[in-house]
Amino acid sequence: MGRAEGNRKVNGTEGERVPPLPTCVKFQLVSKMNKDAQMRAAINQKLIETGERERLKELLRAKLIECGWKDQLKAHCKEVIKEKGLEHVTVDDLVAEITPKGRALVPDSVKKELLQRIRTFLAQHASL
């Protein structure tokens, strides 16, 4: 996810886009990082390695379809598109309109279950 959208990610502290670093530089930065960031990185790494991230993604997708989140969002999409006109819809438009609504529409049960699974994973793997 990150690499494909490397250009989209905005630096959290400065709020502006920075040009991507060459790969060799990135690796050198690892040693300069603080512990939290390193831990986060390591956990992400672990998630991907074990395949847990994919599993979680699939689980989330299935749950969202089940609970009707996708249909709700689709209805919202239709309205947005009808407003904007079918021909003039862009990805950015859609993303800007839909992502906040999507985040809000996730039911609590789904959120709790997912968080539970993530915590379980962290408990297992945090100590490494």
Binding site: M1, G2, R3, N11, E14, V18, P22, T23, C24, V25, K26, F27, Q28, L29, V30, S31, K32, M33, K35, D36, A37, Q38, M39, R40, A41, A42, I43, N44, Q45, R53, L56, K57, L60, R61, L64, K70, L73, K74, C77, K78, I81, L86, V89, T90, V91, L94, I98, T99, G102, R103, V106, K111, L114, L115, I118, R119, L122, A126, S127, L128
Partner: protein, 432 residues
């Protein structure tokens, strides 16, 4: 990016891209420009290795911080949700651009047409439940109207193409072959199905009433003899030797066959003198049958009802009518007090008939004991037992078997022995 060779670091060479937030301040001055020199990779790998080692130490220390873990978990969750949302956006955008986004919408008219129906007695499509139960189909073969649920078995037998139909047909062929031995010249002399007649002995264990079938095709006495043509057409043959006879045919396989409906001929009388032995045998069988079974001929199927004398489907009037038809106007309906009622009747009638016909007597046969109406049928079938044996040998013995049956019937009625009743011969007087 070219992959790193693992040999350079002595086995440690696993290259993992890291999602690392970085700032301007962290850029080392010597590597600002894009470069892919091996030296840089070596350096970076080395540093990566060091950092991962450091990480391992740090993780074990700081991993216990729950709030941080919780924050991390929330972050991961947010990432996942955002992934899903983005994925959805891409799907929608693609659908819009490819033109299939609005395809699953229905216009309002169709929405009204296909609205879900919620009335009692109807399903959601508005159809009536169980509509097909009362529907009737017309059979293309016999042009009769059959209930839908019975149509398939009927058709199987009507066309004579099912497994069971061919079994019945084969048995009938065998039956009629043996019956027509003296008359026909070209029939196959198969003795394969001789067992058809041995109902009483062989099928004692299978006393199933539904297995029996009495089938009585009537023939126009004025029409030419059609035994062969009937056989080829329907898979069984009708036994006729003279025009004034009452041809009988019954299947011992116990299955109904609709292939040849009855033709009533009210002018047919029974003249005993012209009957051959086979006809007499079958006639006697019919009579015996009438004494033990309901016998009402159904208009629908033109067959005699094989249920007991107390069959609820038919009234006594109907039974009386049938018996009058067969036996003359003074035919008496057998008493229906118990299933073994017909003792005296059987004995007397058959004995009377026998005496009239002046057959030789012998007591070859003793059919199974009758404990119920079912077994009383077996006694009727016991006729067949000897017939099969006789068929194997000579014709003469068929007489004996018949007689033996008759007397056997009388002798086997252990439960209610009654003296023979005098008025029975009058029945036959009327017939003649």
């Amino acid at each position: 990016m070219p992959p790193l060779s693992s040999g350079q670091q002595g086995g440690e060479g696993r290259w993992q891209p890291l999602e690392v937030p970085w700032t301007h301040t962290n850029i080392p001055p010597q590597c600002v420009q894009p470069c892919c020199r091996p030296l840089c990779y070596e350096q970076s790998e080395h540093r990566l290795h060091k950092s991962s080692q450091m990480k391992m130490e740090e993780m074990s220390l700081s991993g216990l911080d729950n709030s941080k873990l919780e924050a991390i978990a929330q972050e991961i969750y947010a990432d996942l949700v955002e992934d899903s949302c983005l994925g959805f956006c891409f799907e929608v955008h693609r659908a819009v651009k490819c033109g299939y986004f609005f395809l699953d919408d229905t216009d309002p008219e169709s929405m009204k047409d296909f609205e879900i129906v919620d009335q009692p007695g109807l399903d959601i499509f508005g159809q009536v439940f169980n509509q097909w139960k009362s529907k009737e189909c017309v059979c293309p073969n016999c042009s009769r109207s059959i209930a839908a649920s019975r149509f398939a078995p009927h058709l199987e037998k009507c066309l004579g193409m099912g497994r069971n139909s061919s079994r019945i047909a084969n048995r009938r062929i065998a039956n009629s072959n043996n019956m027509n031995k003296s008359e026909s010249d070209q029939e196959d002399n198969d003795d394969i199905n001789d067992n058809d007649w041995s109902y009483g002995s062989e099928k004692k264990a299978k006393k199933r009433k539904s297995d029996k079938l009495w089938y009585l095709p009537f023939q126009n006495p004025n029409s030419p003899r059609r035994s062969k043509s009937l056989k080829h057409k329907n898979g069984f043959s009708v036994c006729t030797s003279a025009s004034n006879t009452l041809p009988l045919l019954f299947s011992s396989s116990g299955e109904l066959s609709n292939s040849d409906p009855f033709k009533y001929n009210n002018s047919t009388g029974i003249s005993y003198e012209t009957l051959g032995p086979e006809e007499l045998r079958s006639l006697l069988t019919t009579l015996i049958f009438l004494f033990q079974q309901c016998g009402v001929i159904s208009e629908h199927t033109k067959k005699m009802c094989t249920r007991s004398l107390r069959c609820p489907q038919h009234t006594d009037e109907q039974r009386r009518t049938v018996r009058i038809y067969f036996l003359g106007s003074s035919a008496v309906l057998p008493e229906v007090e118990s299933s073994l009622d017909n003792d005296s009747f059987d004995m007397t009638d058959s004995q009377a008939l026998i005496s009239r016909l002046q057959w030789d007597g012998s007591s070859d046969l003793s059919p199974s004991d009758s404990g119920s109406s079912k077994t009383s049928e077996n006694q009727g079938w016991g006729l067949g037992t000897n017939s099969s044996e006789s068929r194997k040998t000579k014709k003469k013995k068929s007489h004996l078997s018949l007689v033996g049956t008759a007397s056997g019937l009388g002798s086997n009625k252990k439960k209610k022995p009654k003296p023979p009743a005098p008025p029975t011969p009058s029945i036959y007087d009327d017939i003649n």
